[in-house]
Symmetry: C2
Subunit: 301 residues, 2 copies
DNA sequence: GCTCATTACGGTACCCGTAAGAATG
DNA sequence: CATTCTTACGGGTACCGTAATGAGC
């Protein structure tokens, strides 16, 4: 009989690199790890881990099995969570991840429409794309709105179903008084000496787009400050202290700023709806409905 | 600690409708069932089964948990199977389900192309759509080619990823000597008294299409014989003993038969590629490649 | 000699069956 | 009273830790 403890043991071995370290990690004795691993190998009839004096490593069979076992384990974790929600709240909770601007622009109307037909409790979780992605994979979120650079292949996990909602090219945001603000199209090279307001994370789509475009134009952008706060960014740009990379829909027209394309390719920000491929039966319908509403709201091509 | 036996117990209760029957089904004593169920309920902190003197029924929480538990269990069954294959065969086996005509028309060239780039062992399984679907859901198949009536929603399980490859309208196949064979378009009403060669299974797409169209035209088709054997069907139709419903690509031109559309709508047979949404990491790439090749081979719109 | 893994041994806990009790129809 | 589920009790298994042995850097 297969045992969930055996999965935890194999997982710990894979993570830590040795049986002894796995034992410490799980607060077990070393022999217990050896015992469970042996039992699992005996059940499957093949070696899962190659032992040595320096540590242990998984065989291909071990990797294969662990991958399935992890999937089963996360599924069970989701089961426990959802049962607890049903017990404590009395209904199904749909957890939707989102990034800041989409949460404000797309979701309010869509959730209002969604609420009409269904009786699920919606819980919104805000976060950056990579964090949301991780939560999707471990079952903390049922679906999410996230963005990335068009052409990114980071979201390719088979356990996730995805759909592109919007594609929006990046722009350069300048103060209205900026010397280049009059130009309809800007040459990035003219901004080689400009001070940039940039994201704090190098993993941000806008950061990667800026570095790629600036690199192609032959310069490394000077940094004025790092910030994720849109009102701050707008204020600095309006004051003509710095420039920034942004998408059109994120421009706040109350500030004295303009957004301009460049002769160079700045890349495209893609907004996607990503959902678990294996939802609960009660949520499958709501998820499909939500996806339809979002597609309608985004006016996808 | 969650236990796989508990899942088997809950599953048996759901299937049989009582703890006692579940005990018989699992070859356990009745108290053992009670014990495991109690342990699971205690772990989850909620009632999963309502007991009575007449039997037992699952609560909503029980249904919810069972659904997840079944998914996890099938995933583990797939894991065991694949590890055994890796052990006995030495590599990954990709099991593809298919129905007869697609197996002959689409797959040979596609599999030849597929073999070039990958090193997986391909295993073909032939069967009718519903059987293939069932095998997909329990993990016996990794993907399948199957057909159904356009508009069917039977294949909507979230655990399956699907893609339509072809749409082909149904035709009436007549002997070349048939009085109506000269008409470009046939009125079904003229065939109200004809003898039909039909499928053995009422679940077949062609059967459902025929019954719907005949019903709309105001008659119930007479049956000459039931058969799935295409050469037999062709021979009888060529001999002008009966007529049959068929799609264009399945017509064997070596027989003296013609295929004609009708003024009534006969429906459309849809060929689909369906794959598990959660493949092994080693198979995800091959599956995607296979899907691309099939789309190319089918010349999908 | 340190860390690594395996083997041996004993205590405890849990699993499972038998037997008896309570409730429903 | 037949069937259902629950509780109680006892035997056996298997889990887990401590201790001791062997292997490699």
């Amino acid at each position: 009989m297969l045992d969930l403890r055996q999965f935890a043991v194999l997982d710990a071995i894979a993570r830590t690199g040795s049986l002894a370290a796995a034992a410490r990690d799980l607060h077990y004795g070393q022999p217990t790890i050896s015992h469970h691993l042996r039992a699992l190998e005996q059940h499957l009839g093949t070696e899962l881990v190659t032992r040595s004096a320096t540590g242990a490593a998984l065989t291909p069979a071990g990797e294969l099995f662990l991958d399935h076992a992890r999937a089963a384990t996360t599924r069970l974790a989701v089961a426990e969570r959802e049962v607890a929600e049903l017990r404590d709240f009395g209904g199904t909770v749909l957890r939707i991840g989102t990034f800041e601007s989409a949460g404000a622009r797309l979701l309010p109307q869509v959730l209002a429409e969604l609420g009409a037909g269904h009786t699920v409790q919606v819980e919104l979780v805000e976060g950056e794309p990579l964090g949301l992605l991780e939560q999707l994979l471990d079952g903390s979120l049922h679906c999410a709105l996230l963005y990335d650079l068009d052409g990114d292949t980071s979201v390719t996990d088979a356990a996730l179903r995805q759909r592109t909602l919007e594609r929006e090219p990046f722009r350069i945001m300048l103060g209205a008084e900026h010397p280049l603000a009059g130009n309809e199209v800007i040459d990035l090279a003219d901004l080689a000496d400009a001070d940039w307001i940039r994201s704090r994370s190098v993993l941000e789509a806008s950061e990667r787009a800026l570095l790629a475009a600036a690199g192609a134009a032959g310069f490394v952008p000077n940094t004025l400050l790092h910030s994720e706060d849109y009102s701050l960014v707008h204020a600095f740009v309006a004051a003509n202290v710095g420039v920034a990379l942004i998408v059109e829909s994120a421009v706040d027209t109350r500030y004295r700023v303009v957004a301009r394309p460049t002769v160079q390719d700045l890349g495209v920000r893609r907004v996607r709806f990503v959902a678990t491929a294996t939802p609960s039966p009660g949520q499958a319908g709501v998820l499909a409905h939500l996806e339809d509403l979002l597609i309608g709201a985004a006016g996808v091509e």
